[in-house]
Symmetry: C2
Subunit: 350 residues, 2 copies
Amino acid sequence: MTVLILTCRQDVTADLVVAELREQGVPLVRFDPADLPDRAALSAEFDRGDFTGYLSTEGRLVGIHGLRSIWVRRPGRPAAHAANPSEWLTAECGQALYGMLYATTARWMNHPGAAEPARHKPFQLRVAQHSGFAVPSTLVTTYPRAARDFAVRCADIVVKSASGPPSVDPPVALPTTRIGPDADFSDVAAAATLLQRYIPKRADIRLFCVGAELFAARKTAASGQVDGRFGCHGHPWEPVAVPARIAKSVHAYMTFTGLAYGAFDFAEDADGGWWFLECNQGGQFGFVELETGQPIAAAVASWLAAPHTARPRRSPPAPRSAEPPGAPPMPPPEAPPETPPGIRPTHHGL
Amino acid sequence: MTVLILTCRQDVTADLVVAELREQGVPLVRFDPADLPDRAALSAEFDRGDFTGYLSTEGRLVGIHGLRSIWVRRPGRPAAHAANPSEWLTAECGQALYGMLYATTARWMNHPGAAEPARHKPFQLRVAQHSGFAVPSTLVTTYPRAARDFAVRCADIVVKSASGPPSVDPPVALPTTRIGPDADFSDVAAAATLLQRYIPKRADIRLFCVGAELFAARKTAASGQVDGRFGCHGHPWEPVAVPARIAKSVHAYMTFTGLAYGAFDFAEDADGGWWFLECNQGGQFGFVELETGQPIAAAVASWLAAPHTARPRRSPPAPRSAEPPGAPPMPPPEAPPETPPGIRPTHHGL
């Protein structure tokens, strides 16, 4: 049973997991959809109720029925490396490849059907509320006046991108920026803008959930620091224990979204409380593993290598609506309930 | 409680449903994501565990909590009509809009998380096999030799696009084309190609599943006709009864994929058997309704207008792997089993 890793050629994070899988003696194939159809090939046949198929790349051939798991790491755009690339060639090759893979019994980290809603920040915030996390007050708006009112109420806010920095050449950084209520909000009308109450933080927390395993790391913040991704503050990432209440909320979040992997960002406030900022379903872990020595790549490898079981957790649960009708009102974020409303057991397996 | 229709301005199919909803006295808002942020606006606030939000377009304002359903008809690309459109503006506005909508309790026709896998033809074929449909032998491949072998085995095949015609200007038609085993298959290496055993057909069947309701129409084929979408053969669409076995398979397919709406294409063979060709999760119904008088738009409107229930069927079930491990081998398509393997009851509601 083979592990399929969908990623591009230059991917150090995938390299870490590949090394772990090799050490565990687990067969794997690294496949870049961009290599279709010139440097990689596929074939799938449907005949009298039966389905067979295989993928081939760099001289390796793997049967579709032999796939135990699929890791969607950083796949290239289908047929991007083709001699004559086109939108249509990308569509045809993407249809063939992902259509084949959806038809397998493999477990996904993460299934694209679960990843799609989970990429959206407003959905993340709502699921986080229901999962019992403390979530800073947040506004997403195209109304300058709503933005101004929010800033006045919060007094101290940050503005950040919902979708990340623009893909331009040369690349631009788009750090989270702290602003006050007297800022000029007229440009809010030009694009949906995400504003969030500023949480004075004493540390950044990055928490990785890999299946059921949790790894958290903490990085002390410089005084007044807003966005820890930019600038060097001299503080290293250090392993930190996960409070039981946070662990419970993380598992609720993962169940609700159907993700098998998630990289959570928190701000640790002056009282030691963890505030949910976001969950990146494809977030990096290599830089934390290198500094803390936490065995995250090994955990990913073990999850991918796990054998099929009689009732495998191999399919994502529904990307569900974030709020059941008639759910009890949420308590304030300072006191998340022991059993967050809105979460019910999820139905894995068939 | 309002129905939200995500579609572009010119959409006759949406017009039919809007007319039905107006007749039923159901409030609705028609919203084109392309109008963000200049001609449409949005705002969502997350505060102390609570979530409020609204959308505004053409002077109408609708609260997010007042949405009963969302119809993803033919939405424009977010911010496509903006004064200064860009990839990044599209990403930011899309994040804000869809993130808000995923966070609501509304029922979806169809949820993007369910629609994404369901668009892929190889996945469709595998789910169709498991749902008990007769499926023509099909090969999706980049191997010229596999294509040639398949053509020799089947003797008479058609070649079709997996993803539809290319988006080029002027538009090109890409009809399904009948070929024999002596064709030149060398170009198969240049793109994933879909080949299918030719089913000599006496009619095309188009079946619409709207929630639990089924509407089927039949169009007698001209002698030797391959692709009924092209050319005028003088035969009108006529209503046709849905065989019980087909109805059962359709419901299994919908349950498996989590779709609320699907347009199924079948070929009726000389013995009256229906062969599954595809299920288009966003397929048109207007042209059939106009010819047959079947109340499909009314059914869509009724589904969208249905009130929330205590345990609503509002969230898509998992886009599941198409094949459980250890499933018994499928019988030949001529005799679909009474209970197709691979299908289990699906868990709607929370």
